[in-house]
Symmetry: C4
Amino acid sequence: MAIAITLLVLEIGVPHMDPGESLGAALGEQWPSYAAYAVSFLTIGIIWVNHHHLFSVIVRTDNTFLILNVVFLMTIAALPWPTALVAEFIREEGARTTATAVYGLNMTSIAIMFNAVWRYAARGHRLLAPNADPAGIHKVSASYLSGPITYLAATLIAFANAWVSLAIFAALALYWLIPGTGPTVELLRGPGGEERSEHGSAG
Amino acid sequence: MAIAITLLVLEIGVPHMDPGESLGAALGEQWPSYAAYAVSFLTIGIIWVNHHHLFSVIVRTDNTFLILNVVFLMTIAALPWPTALVAEFIREEGARTTATAVYGLNMTSIAIMFNAVWRYAARGHRLLAPNADPAGIHKVSASYLSGPITYLAATLIAFANAWVSLAIFAALALYWLIPGTGPTVELLRGPGGEERSEHGSAG
Amino acid sequence: MAIAITLLVLEIGVPHMDPGESLGAALGEQWPSYAAYAVSFLTIGIIWVNHHHLFSVIVRTDNTFLILNVVFLMTIAALPWPTALVAEFIREEGARTTATAVYGLNMTSIAIMFNAVWRYAARGHRLLAPNADPAGIHKVSASYLSGPITYLAATLIAFANAWVSLAIFAALALYWLIPGTGPTVELLRGPGGEERSEHGSAG
Amino acid sequence: MAIAITLLVLEIGVPHMDPGESLGAALGEQWPSYAAYAVSFLTIGIIWVNHHHLFSVIVRTDNTFLILNVVFLMTIAALPWPTALVAEFIREEGARTTATAVYGLNMTSIAIMFNAVWRYAARGHRLLAPNADPAGIHKVSASYLSGPITYLAATLIAFANAWVSLAIFAALALYWLIPGTGPTVELLRGPGGEERSEHGSAG
């Protein structure tokens, strides 16, 4: 995930200037590249934060779980490509719709696979910690269902108006930056329920 | 491995449209790139799952083992290049055979090196945990032998018909997605034999 | 961070030689690329050393902290792009100013987000180890404030003279290479206060 | 290091075929790219094995050590660029010498920084484990001195004959693949002296 997120920048090229054009103007024309970079980066970043949160309660792995993770990562690693597609074709009427739809389908696939990974781990507490909180697990499972539905809806809207669709993707990425909107459900019971980082005290 | 897998997407370019062509048609023409991306990604992903499984029983390293791993990773890191080669030349009669053969040779090299890494660690339980299960180790060693043979055979088939060869590579990648086809052999004896993830309980 | 730093080299291309030109001369003309590579690499490297130092005292994470880190990493991951911009346009009068200003704004954003990440963790010792030293924490917080101010000032200077601005960015990167200029403030109290690496003794 | 090593493949492009040329012939012409890929990959791989060996005895870090590591990694991360340079210009008389010299200088810088990182850690056992073996430390320090000297000599030979110089770089990379040529000096005393991997027993 860290690698996919960092590769995004490679899709932003150094601009070519027309004769007599200033670099400032050339950079200004490139704005779809910057916007697409930020939206894709933040979206993967937020998925990463949620993934991190879930792995505080997932304490085992098995074969099927790893394979599901491979497919999940395949959908994430693919994102730089539709990101470049949207940045390239956002100004062209017909192509804009196609590029946005491809981007949306990739986003929807990510959301579906994220659910698949979590649901596989959570079903019957298959891979969860013994002190996993059933109520919290249930709440999280329910809340994640809205992801694929929202992204699929935003993708379908692209066929009516690609701008509205893109605005929804951007709004979703920005929304999660607001403090308090992230994963707040407590997944573990008891005094050990507080999430800890992987950093030990050096004392 | 995670890096090689993520770099694959860089080989899929933004399509160039001929005048009057729609983006949808241009994307459709790029299908070999997407297929090659998915097959290579899934293949490396499945190797990674198997590698992970083996490292539950490999608890030491030595010099030769690390060098073997370097050569193994060299064959994996090279894969984005023949992947791009196949995607580029799949539509051209003569070049298709050459590109497929190069792809197949890379796949065969990966399978050979995977065996070399494992066999070096497993011979006389050289680098294995004290509670490694001899029967499980033997079974895994035998089953991995089929890898280089299968991939070499699929590579040779390319000289008769490259499409058949490519179909075999794709089928092998998809086959391992079926639940229950992955590494199921128990490598450790006793109550500690259950595979654990690297994630500790947060409780 | 390790990934962004390593991707920088991809922005240095193999030079094109004019007819009759030697490779030595063509490489000589590419000097802005090498200089920009070194300055950006060292700057990210020094941020990484400081980040490592701070994480010896940060022992918890929460949601907002992770999101702040995502935005911080977004500013770092973007750096290869303005680095390439400066290398490309350093020889052109007007474009040089614009390219340097973009580079400086990216540097300033990194410095601001670095402060935000640290201040969020340190406020009221929110995410710090129990034996964090209040005096050391306070000193570090105060000293990091100079980062955004210095980089913003150097960015504004670009509009008067881009060369001076670039010289300041280079000087700041080289300054931190001098032994004794790095993070020396003790962040933990007592006998356990000495910073330890993550490497355990093999004995 | 893992990232720099994996990026090397991006410098091998899909070949352009002249009209009437077969893909096999076009690939054959690209052999310098494959040779340069293998030599650079194996060289970084061997450095990584040695680095891993040394870090079994280095158990602390400090500021200067981290900065030295940043500069060391900068020289390694730069290697894909001279690798591409050699692959591109190996067939042109004058440019071959320049490209080989640049490659050799990068190799020499890596060897110098590797020594600097180790010597800083080992001087007066500054960052070493309490049970570090003084005789072993001394032997390793002495043996690493030959690295910068050998690579500098091979670089200077490029000005007489670039092919000889390149053959030495290739021979050095292949030499270390021979079992028993790697880091065999025992760095730790006593029963805990055996090198362990970072993988714990799952039992």
